[in-house]
Amino acid sequence: MKEIVDHIIDIVNNSISAGAQNIIIDIQESATNNYLKISIIDDGKGIDENTINKITDPFFTTKKDKKVGLGISLLKYQAELAGGSFHIKSELNKGTEIKATFQLSHIDRQPMGDIAGTIILLITSHSNIHFIYKHQTDDGVFTLDTIEIKDIINDISTNNIMRSSLKKYIEENLKKIKMTY
């Protein structure tokens, strides 16, 4: 995993496997307070208490055809490496919330990567899922709610001009709030 967006795709895939219909990708960063917080909140089937205690163990997985479960442990490792922390909260049949905090200016913090492209990748691949992407900085907040763009989502997956226009829309709004890469 080279970039933070790699973890986001990975964790969102977990949410989708858990049957989530609504997924919130909440990014909060503050240059003043030196943090970058990534939260993925879903309404999937949740994780029981027994499992949650083992979830950051790289040799634990719920998948039957695998012996390792690296996704969550890699995110925890990267967050802690960048002077941050990792938290997971889950309730059976309600959903799961994963939160990774990084020190924004830490030399070992992974770069964010192409967040606009990643959001588009996720919403076009799972057009039946309601995504809310929220990105907050010291300069403001940008929110993309797929319910608001329902009328254009289908076009985005089949038409590159629409795809690049949506990308431009996200990027220009992120530029306005001065997001850190």
Binding site: D6, I9, D10, L121, E148, T158, Y169
Partner: protein, 132 residues
């Protein structure tokens, strides 16, 4: 291109697009298009699946091949990542393993354009997260 900062700007572009081509029809019949699914579980992402995804999106557009490119979860073939499933209209899907940009190019030119099979095909007994 002008600045696109509001959803209204986006909708204007959509309107222009609809006037030019029959977008809606395409979007409502994805089975008539080439469908490319890039496996993006932890192992796929770590092996560079995101670059392969972008390569397919950009190159299929450049080469004027109507297609839908999406991501999927674990196909169960971590040893062969990045893995890509290609479904030509009216045919069974085929999964290619060890996909680099060079091989992605070969998949587009040989399989997608001409239906010619290439090396690195994985037998189809996996389940994607969509089926689980």
């Amino acid at each position: 291109m002008a600045k696109i900062t509001s959803l209204d700007d986006l909708r204007k572009i959509k309107k222009n697009q609809e006037d030019q081509i029959n977008l809606r029809e395409k979007a409502e019949h994805p089975e008539s298009l080439v469908q490319v699914k890039v496996g993006m579980a932890t192992s796929g992402i770590a092996a560079g699946a995101k670059e392969i995804f972008t390569f397919f999106v950009d190159e299929l557009e450049k080469r004027n091949i109507p297609a839908v490119v999406t991501q999927t979860g674990d196909m169960g073939y971590s040893y062969a990542e990045p893995t890509v499933e290609v479904k030509l209209p009216g045919q069974e899907p085929i999964v290619f393993g060890w996909v680099t940009k060079e091989r992605a190019d070969e998949i587009i030119e040989k399989y997608i354009r001409n239906g010619e099979l290439i090396e690195g095909i994985i037998p189809q007994n996996y389940k994607t997260i969509d089926d689980k």
